[in-house]
Symmetry: C2
Amino acid sequence: MTTRTDELHSADGGRVTITDVARSVGVSVATVSKVVNGRYGVAPSTIARVQAAIDELGYETSLVARSMRGQSTANIGVLVSEFESYSAELLKGISEAIAGTGYGLLAYAGRRDDVTESGWERRSLSRLARTLFDGAIVVTPSTLITGSFGIPIVAVDPHSGPEGPHTVDSDNRTGAHLATEHLLALGHRRIGLLGGRDDLESARMRETGWREALDAAGIAPDAALIRVVGYRADLAEQAARELLSMPAGERPTAIFAANDRSALPVLDVAAEFGIRVPEDLSVIGYDDIPEAATASPPLTTIAQPLHEMGSAALTMVLDLLHGRETERHLRLPTRLVERSTTGPAPAEA
Amino acid sequence: MTTRTDELHSADGGRVTITDVARSVGVSVATVSKVVNGRYGVAPSTIARVQAAIDELGYETSLVARSMRGQSTANIGVLVSEFESYSAELLKGISEAIAGTGYGLLAYAGRRDDVTESGWERRSLSRLARTLFDGAIVVTPSTLITGSFGIPIVAVDPHSGPEGPHTVDSDNRTGAHLATEHLLALGHRRIGLLGGRDDLESARMRETGWREALDAAGIAPDAALIRVVGYRADLAEQAARELLSMPAGERPTAIFAANDRSALPVLDVAAEFGIRVPEDLSVIGYDDIPEAATASPPLTTIAQPLHEMGSAALTMVLDLLHGRETERHLRLPTRLVERSTTGPAPAEA
DNA sequence: CTGTTAGCGCCTTCAA
DNA sequence: TTGAAGGCGCTAACAG
């Protein structure tokens, strides 16, 4: 233990650099570097002096400078467009799984205006890959990630199928089936759809599942009952207004929203319109984000195993990183979570 | 629009660097740099050729290299020890507030073993500050963050009071009062405490609030009913086993856990022991993380305005960054959320 | 055992 | 209008 005069710093309040340490001890930066990295060939007495100065000054090697030098960074990156419930749940799963691996986690969301332009995932990857992390997990990339970035990459809920990087997703088609059949079983016939981002495979599959289930029940999907809201709450609210403004006989008696984020506003609009849920209108979402359970009434939804998907993605990057065998595409199952927003179809007037 | 032959990359699968672009166009890197940064003094025709190459190759300037050169990075950092519900909620609030500011968000959790040693926040700050982000928010720092890192820093739920960096927290003492008084009002007299991390101001204040409320009711805190579990689920489970193993007349009829994470396991242990909640035992938590609402039975708790705390912290760093006036310490209110784990004290045998 | 040199990718003088 | 040179903090190879 040193006396810890504590943070003498390099005068001007900047960071303490390896140069500050070297100067303070009177050795070269190379020597300090060797001490820091435990390299052989430094006299014990020198080590002690350097170490003392390091403690004294509170020096810590810069992650950035080190990784620029071409080392491995011992960090895994997670690229998201935004920190919202969906990505946050994934992140929790990733974080749990990373414990004990010796890697740190770096989650990045670029500037919002940058992220709204398509291709943000490729840009972020270009800006950060290799230089900041050794492997990356990209959440809901809307663009096919082509080319190599020099590091292993895993996509969660990706843009598209077999080509492109390794992926983790859940069984969207079956999930949508489950949702629609649940509604059908309750006697609903006019089932509206709030479609997701059409640049995402998941959204397409959920729509497909919805169509197929309707077909199987001998119901033709009604174009008037479809709105593409891109997984977004604001567009969903707008769409809900339109749908619920329709005359009683034409209005859908149930709505399947392609994600919870877009299902939740439907509840608000219904309340505003005096439409009772689930008596007059059933609503079912997708994802099972935490807000689904706390909504009032609690939202019936299709649960994706978000934590598992996160930890599976992490395991996958790590496997790739260490040259181990991995599946190219991992698909996890979904399940119906019945809460309070779905009920028997109302008797027609 | 270029023809997008798409990602020709520099052969070996590494990143595309400014040098690759320069070579491909036949100009110097300096020129490319000027084009990228929109500096004056480049011939229009050259700009066009360089731009074409950039699009062609998919070049993106490296965040790391640029920031090493001493630029601002246009990123705000968030340092957490782990991505769990508490920090995730904060992150959502920060993320909402950052929209439209032109800043990106970089959340970092270091290697787990590194993080368990105290001082991780200072280390992470040293490793990343200045070089990776322009300002930082540190979540639950257990150590006083001293010295300057060359960037503005805001601590959320910090180690201690007035000294140190700017802080955002909530009114822990009043919150604990609220919790304890709620229990008291229900007739409870033997109220156990699952204390938090004693290196955190929040934990100390919650314990203080608990004591004060008991005092005010003329009840002497019983040392046998106190367990310090450091906000951790595993230790809380252990403590719950001990507490609930006590004979019926000595066992607490209610437990106040200093955070939800440690309250939740109590529910499990009670179920395992055949102790009914809330008939035989009342449990109240603190934080109101999403899991509190989905627990069974749903957990009564003290809600902290996590999203607001996050966005307030962000506003604060930004103010600091732009030299605007800010409060040094912002304290937000808490509120009681009654759910189903608290009820009247059982009649004594 | 220690220091010198070179270079990671980038940007900014300063000359040409 | 362009390019050469220097340096940000760090590490690795190579001299001494």
